[in-house]
């Protein structure tokens, strides 16, 4: 019952935000039905459109996953953007330095190094939070800037391709992922990402590691009581989250660009984070949400071209959607249900305090 409620609520928020979007379009004198039709046509119909949607889907999916993993242990990891940048840079470096390696080994090396760099980077805020309770939101936001500056320095200085554009030399031809839906940029990284997500889903739902993560996220004191080290688990989750973030960067570089371009991401990870936020980091629904956002993002271009409705409206709809989706108590229409929820919440609080006391 509770589970179905969640999905009904999600659908309901989608409908509400699309209605609000329609009202905005009506006020501006556009036909909302036509606009939405063009939006979905622009996302699915035709090889180029579908390919673009898939290409946008890959980084969104991985960054959303990275965020969802860390929120399993109760860490709000805003730093996926930084992990993505550093992972991308690491992959590009391996890609253009070790030319001459056999292609399969080279690709694996690219992924491995990118994931390692991402994981190490993410473990810093994880360790700080686990050890001393440093606010991870702040640290990760700040570390995003540090990561961008590091990559910006590298791409303008030591690793510059010296072409006037801030980019690294192109990676070896063998490591570029095949783009299978020309003329779009959809690439085989999609399958890697999907495989990774399936693995993560298995890890989270049916392995000991996943159980530890959930346990620590729900109540670290209880976890400690049952013999799980919350600190190590927290750092472990951040390592995994960083690895996935680094992988997203690696796939972007090897699949789409073939080199590292300064500031190439422009907030991919933030969109991914939003996808995870909407579904409250429920690993099962994150892929669908990421796909939905990718559809909206890539369809927006077609909508703007054919109906003249500005692309920014789609962003507005997504934002409204998220604002509604974050309000947990908004859709509790039924007073009884609401009252029940309150009781649950207060009893939850009490148990939390009990946990605190035990911890002390």
């Amino acid at each position: 019952m509770k589970v179905t409620n969640k999905y009904v609520n999600l659908l309901f928020t989608i409908v509400i935000s699309m209605l609000i979007g329609a009202v905005i379009m009506l006020i501006l004198g556009f036909n909302p039905l036509e606009a939405y039709f063009q939006l979905f046509k622009g996302a699915f119909v035709g090889k180029l459109n579908l390919g673009t949607t898939l290409q946008k889907f890959v980084p969104l999916l991985l960054t959303a996953m990275a965020f969802a993993i860390s929120s399993r242990v109760g860490v709000f990891n805003v730093g996926v953007e930084g992990e993505l940048y550093l992972g991308a840079m690491a992959a590009a470096w391996v890609g253009f330095t070790f030319v001459g390696l056999p292609a399969p080994i080279h690709i694996v090396l690219c992924f491995a190094f990118a994931m390692l760099v991402g994981a190490v980077w993410a473990s810093i805020p994880g360790a700080l939070k686990a050890q001393w309770g440093v606010n991870e939101v702040c640290v990760t936001i700040l570390m995003n800037y540090v990561a961008t500056f590091i990559t910006s320095y590298l791409v303008n200085g030591p690793f510059s391709a010296k072409t006037g554009v801030p980019q690294t030399p192109a990676v070896a031809a063998g490591v570029k992922l095949t783009q299978f839906m020309k003329p779009s940029q959809a690439h085989t990284g999609l399958f890697v990402a999907v495989a990774a997500v399936i693995f993560i889903y298995w890890l989270m739902s049916s392995s000991t590691i996943g159980y530890k993560f959930t346990s620590v996220g729900l109540n670290p004191f209880h976890a400690q009581y049952t013999g799980i080290d919350p600190k190590r688990t927290m750092i472990g989750a951040m390592l995994l989250s960083g690895a996935v973030g680094g992988m997203a960067g690696c796939i972007e570089v090897l699949g789409v660009y073939g080199y590292f371009l300064d500031n190439f991401s422009s907030g991919i990870a933030f969109d991914g984070m939003l996808a995870a936020l909407i579904v409250k980091s429920d690993i099962k629904t994150v892929p669908f949400m990421a796909f939905f956002l990718a559809v909206l993002k890539s369809g927006a271009l077609g909508m703007e071209r054919y109906t003249g409705v500005p692309k920014a409206i789609v962003d507005t709809i997504i934002a409204i959607f998220i604002i509604f989706a974050t309000m947990e108590a908004l859709l509790a229409f039924n007073k009884k249900r609401k009252a029940k929820k309150d009781v649950q919440a207060s009893s939850g609080k009490q148990s939390e305090q009990g946990g605190l006391k035990n911890g002390i």
Binding site: L128, W132, G133, V139, L277, A312, I318, I323, T326
Partner: protein, 312 residues
């Protein structure tokens, strides 16, 4: 000498100039953090304020009206956050991020709809916030460089720091606010309306965020570009953390950000990589945060061990 031309007296004003937009954002974050609300949405509030200020200033030619309206826009944005967070129990980080995205989207949309361009908008018709010029100082090169031509908001920012410090640490309201932040349940028991307090600080935060945006778009520069805040709201939050929610210390944090920003720009002019200098404030803030919490952990451990010793 390169060194002398980087570190000279003009750096002082350059620092204050670069620090002021961050300062307002930091104050907006400080006031909510005192009530235990981490205001990630400062960035979005600022961006909305900046856009509104340019719009009103362009159409009416009145900078004061523009400032007021951008404050109102800031309040609207912060109220969305406040209602979502306080009434509908939204996670504050989630709603903050959503607000940032919302602001980015509606300003992108608004720049096309109301100003008729995309990307960036600048026009001589935009009335700027006036600068203070004291003719007495003009004769002296140093006084002129140090104290002349300050924007009104730059002066007001410093006054605001003093007002805020007074409000937080010298008034009943401030005491109540801090108690709400420390332990809301105890505050409620003492008869303080916690939610009302939280709404109040969110309104103040909206006003300050709106001011920050207005200063950025019609004081600091006279234009609006897409995403023109470019992380300044987050820097404000960082400065707040740097000062551990004390307005004075947060101001010092802002000055540090402003200082490295101006140094970075100058270094770049000489062909040095500025990235490392620009990186410094972030690393310093992380270090300050870590050290302060590490020391707290050590202190707590000591207290706890002495308690145990007494009991046994």
């Amino acid at each position: 000498m390169e060194f002398n031309s980087i570190f000279d007296y003009t750096l002082i004003y350059a620092t204050i100039r670069a620090a002021t937009p961050i300062l307002f954002a930091a104050l907006a974050a400080v006031i909510t953090q005192q009530a235990d609300i981490i205001n990630i949405g400062t960035e979005g509030i600022m961006l909305t304020g900046a856009f509104t200020a340019v719009c009103i200033s362009y159409f009416t030619g009145n900078w004061f009206l523009a400032l007021i309206v951008s404050m109102i826009a800031g309040i609207i944005m912060s109220m969305i956050m406040a209602v979502a967070h306080i009434r509908y129990k939204a996670d504050i980080c989630a709603i903050g991020t959503a607000i940032n995205m919302f602001a980015l989207a509606i300003t992108k949309f608004g720049i096309k709809q109301f100003l008729g361009t995309t990307g960036s908008f600048t026009d001589p018709k935009i009335a700027a916030i006036p600068r203070i010029n004291i003719p007495l100082f003009e004769s002296n090169k140093y006084l002129d460089g140090l104290f002349n031509n300050w924007s009104l908001m730059e002066v007001f920012g410093i006054i605001m720091v003093l007002i805020m410090t007074f409000m937080l640490y010298r008034t009943v309201w401030g005491l109540r606010l801090r108690s709400v932040g420390r332990f809301p349940m105890a505050a409620e028991t003492a008869g303080i309306n916690v939610n009302k307090m939280k709404y109040q600080v969110m309104v103040i935060s909206g006003i300050l965020g709106g001011m920050a945006g207005a200063h950025l778009s019609i004081g600091y520069s006279q234009m609006f570009t897409e995403n023109m805040t470019n992380g300044r709201g987050f820097m404000g939050v960082a400065a707040m953390f740097f000062g551990s929610t004390n307005p004075m210390l947060a101001w010092i944090g802002c000055l540090l950000f402003g200082f490295t920003d101006s140094i970075g720009g100058r270094l770049q002019a000489y062909g040095w990589p500025s990235q490392f200098v620009l990186m410094m404030p972030y690393i310093i803030t992380i270090s300050v945060l870590t050290v302060s919490l590490w020391r707290k952990a050590v202190r707590d451990a000591k207290i706890k061990s002495s308690l145990v010793a007494e009991q046994s």
